[in-house]
Symmetry: C2
Subunit: 195 residues, 2 copies
Amino acid sequence: MTASRSRTREDVVKAASRLFAAQGYHGTSMRDLAREVGVLGSSLYSHIESKEDLLVEVVEIGAALFQASAAKAVARGGDGAELLRSLVRGHNDVVLDHLDEARTFLFEADALDEPHRQRVVAARNDYETVFRAALETGRKDGSFRAGIDPKLAAILILSMLNAVERWYRPGGSLSRSALADAVVEFATRGIGSRI
Amino acid sequence: MTASRSRTREDVVKAASRLFAAQGYHGTSMRDLAREVGVLGSSLYSHIESKEDLLVEVVEIGAALFQASAAKAVARGGDGAELLRSLVRGHNDVVLDHLDEARTFLFEADALDEPHRQRVVAARNDYETVFRAALETGRKDGSFRAGIDPKLAAILILSMLNAVERWYRPGGSLSRSALADAVVEFATRGIGSRI
DNA sequence: ACCTAACGAACGATCGTTCGTTAGGTGGTT
DNA sequence: AACCACCTAACGAACGATCGTTCGTTAGGT
């Protein structure tokens, strides 16, 4: 049935996510990928069109995950502070639950051809805009200081979040929930000026 | 005269920095590199041992730049807050003045063989330790809140700094100095709780 | 009997690298 | 000044390996 075929295709895409995330797109050969799936290189082409097609698919999965996370946070509502907290938790969940797709989306888009790369840039801009809007909301409703620059703050917060996968190891002393809380607290209070 | 006109090893290393930073190690061929230098592929081997040797060299240059920056900040002295400011300014200067080497050091170390990769990991740990020590100092001298986690804060601050090259464009509305100030202010005050 | 995933050989292109050769410049000796 | 020995950077062909991909064939499930 079509179900078994599409499941196999999903296996290939999932394996590609893993290898692209671990070794990079250019560092992964189709024979590497085939070995990961448990098949010979040529057999992959029963399921996919081309290597670049695979990258497009993985990157789009990553983009959709972040987009869905942002949409869910917005739908949940709340003031600026609550919105920011939702966004941070959602982002962390995406990174930790879908590490390979997130990594590929965040760091391998340069390997795409120009039109596809532009779509990734646009998706990231849209996502960043949601963060910026949350910060603007919070600035107005009193959640945050009046002096903040929402655009810059959004970039800095996302910089911290996107780097989480580089150092966070699940099962350590810091739980996933505590991680999100720590990022939010750092973003809102910083390290300084004990009152 | 021969020194300035003849292509030296440094020219090759510099070109490699540019391409490794722009396209990644695996995305750069020796013929790509040769074209960048203005020579045929085989001619590169008058100057270097191997492609991986080149990566090692570029990465070590990057490591040395960050290490020197940290040493300079420490030598300058001051309390925790002043030390952190020095470290942030120094880091930004390294990234903006030596973008290619910094990028390669930060993001291409995975392509190294295991022993060399370990040395990069160690260098990054040492560098992070300087940041952590500055935060611990500041926690004791009253520059920062008592409740902060220096290890986590160091990671988060470095996450922001390492991402600067992904979005900052010199010549824009944000000067280099203002950028460093903004990062320091974000790190110390955050966005929240107007008191 | 049909469908299809997987095989395995093979394609041309490109990979990193080697090697014998060449051109051009330098220094030393006459 | 003229010679020669020497050095070095670059060339260009070629190496074996591997790249992404194609294709005719085969095995197994429905």
